[in-house]
Symmetry: C2
Subunit: 351 residues, 2 copies
């Protein structure tokens, strides 16, 4: 870490925060769909739902139900009631966040609705950690969701069209991941269990490389992941080897290579400790998901299942979790606009 | 204010924060459209644009340009460069926040995208104030926008349809308001000028009274405004008379009466010091806007012009600013869902 750090300030470098009292992830939950449950991470999810409609009448209502189940599950796992949560910070991919609004309404928790496309889990955890470290909340619930069918309908084509998908296209994950972020003293840990702390964040800015293909999100988002990860290294004056894993949200196979190459040009080699949630989510050979998984739910369920388990099991100590988002809408795409990207990095450590 | 307040905590009551070092609004800017410029507040806006397309080719691009102009204007008024801003916190009404993403991209400021429908300015100022008070930022730019034509296309009918509007319908304001929130020592004040401080916030939860009419937003949002305002009184143990004005975002004529009645049932009388930005925005008799102004831009431009001026001129000392939002989308409305509301309160004081 930087020796130049001013101990009076939580602000580090240009875009980062180092928390003075690193908030703790005291509970996490993941709810995923059938296809995700059949993938390599399937056994690690708390709940795998076989019904893609989640018992509801529309894809949007299904996603709301999915998110509600994740929120209820994380409360159950933490042994908390909804009244114990000071803020719910959440978002999804649907226009005007209707999955979130209708999903968490009945929890009656003060809500900060956020949107960062598929980077939303990074934004939710960043704001949540700041509110806890700043003394504005004792417990915050950060949550995001996405649903394959709802996302295809929203951004590309309704499933009934049966359109072909190019190999650069990713597969939106049906899933919702939730964490409860709290002050460290609230973590109930067994003697051998590490605390999972959010040590710092690097908040991304919009990076637009002029990609106009909504079927190639990886290429659109890789430059923003590059920008945020490089900034994290610079702000904290660290090298890639500082982390056991650097994990992007959903760059997929296309974006992965672009990111590694862009960082290599700046003399940062992440090829040995890099992974991408979208690549981990599905089996490339058997699941026909082309470039990999994507969506607000992709990084959220991977983090709340696989990544946290590796940290809890002490296989990894330090992780840079970097959910990546493509800031397009159906309207902006149809009007010929580019697809700008954004990525928010969260420094998570087992201690 | 409450005598029971625990001085160790910034958390007050169930849903509120009292800032220990109240952040200061060091600059504000408003950019509005032609119709808004012809209304009662017209002379107070920094910029009134005569061209509804803002020189662009689509309503969405027009709104992005509108927001960019407001962001540039507030930087200019503050004498700051974009590099001086630690976070930009902003949102709009369009799906996937495309007005914001394309509007502020070239500013290259770390972005926290948020969505709270028309309550978004309350959310942006609340998060901004927490980040400054918590030491996570020295300067934050909070901004929202809306555009009449973009909003009609998004939520109701494209203007070309020439549909009729019921009297309960509000008129989405074409406008963008921006504030820079900073630590108090950064305010450049003349000797006679008061500092405009954010003393506290009350973050709203979703309140759904089952309204299903997208042409009657006032009725859908009034219960959430009631819920947040009542909670503010309770959390701080204050009466309505504590404030010189209690100001909702865009309840309009329909919602105004519902709010006053709901609070009266709880023995709170706000009828003497209540106003609504949507009502102030247009002249009811001559401008044919029915229930009043609405949209993310409505409360934002009213706050950054009229409300701040009253505080600066010491006509008012304490204001409760409560932007109100209706959490619907075109999809949720078409699928027969209700219109839940949310409202976020910001306690602003001239000192």
């Amino acid at each position: 870490m930087s020796q130049n750090r001013n101990n009076q300030s939580k602000m580090i470098g240009k875009q980062s925060i180092a928390f003075q009292n690193p908030p703790c992830i005291i509970a996490a939950a993941s709810v995923a769909g059938k296809k995700e449950g059949e993938g390599p991470l399937g056994k690690l999810f708390d709940v795998v739902q076989q019904d893609p409609m989640f018992g509801k009448n529309s894809w949007e209502e299904a996603e709301s139900e999915l998110m509600k189940q994740a929120a209820m599950k994380v409360l159950e796992k933490a042994g908390l009631k909804k009244e114990d949560i000071r803020y719910l910070i959440g978002g999804d991919l649907l226009g005007q966040l209707i999955a979130t609004s209708f999903g968490v309404a009945e929890l009656s928790i003060p809500l900060l609705g956020i949107y960062g496309a598929c980077s939303t889990m990074g934004e939710a955890m960043s704001i949540g950690a700041m509110l806890v470290d700043g003394g504005f909340a004792d417990k915050v619930l950060s949550i995001t969701s996405s649903h394959f069918a709802g996302a295809e309908k929203q951004f590309r084509f309704p499933l009934d069209y049966g359109n072909q998908r190019p190999y650069s296209a990713s597969w939106t994950v049906t899933g919702s991941g939730a964490v409860i972020i709290a002050t460290r003293d609230q973590a109930k840990l067994s003697p051998s269990e590490p605390a999972i702390l959010i040590k710092g964040i690097t908040t991304g800015k919009i990076v637009d490389f002029g990609i106009e293909d909504s079927m190639n999100m990886g290429a659109a988002m890789a430059p923003s992941a590059f920008d945020t990860i490089r900034q994290n290294f610079e702000d904290f004056q660290i090298e890639p080897s500082y982390y056991d894993r650097i994990i992007t949200g959903d760059l997929g196979y296309v974006g992965k290579n672009i990111l590694i190459d862009l960082l290599k040009e700046k003399n940062y080699d992440i090829s040995n400790n890099y992974m991408d949630c979208g690549i981990e989510m599905f089996d490339k050979d058997s699941q026909d998901t082309h470039a990999g998984g994507s969506g607000c739910g992709c990084s959220a369920v991977t983090f709340t299942s696989y990544i946290l388990k590796q940290l809890k099991d002490r296989n990894w100590k330090r992780v840079l979790f970097v959910p990546t988002g493509a800031l397009l809408s159906q309207t902006s795409f149809n009007e010929g606009q580019t697809v700008p990207g954004i990525a928010h990095a969260v420094m998570v450590e087992a201690e």
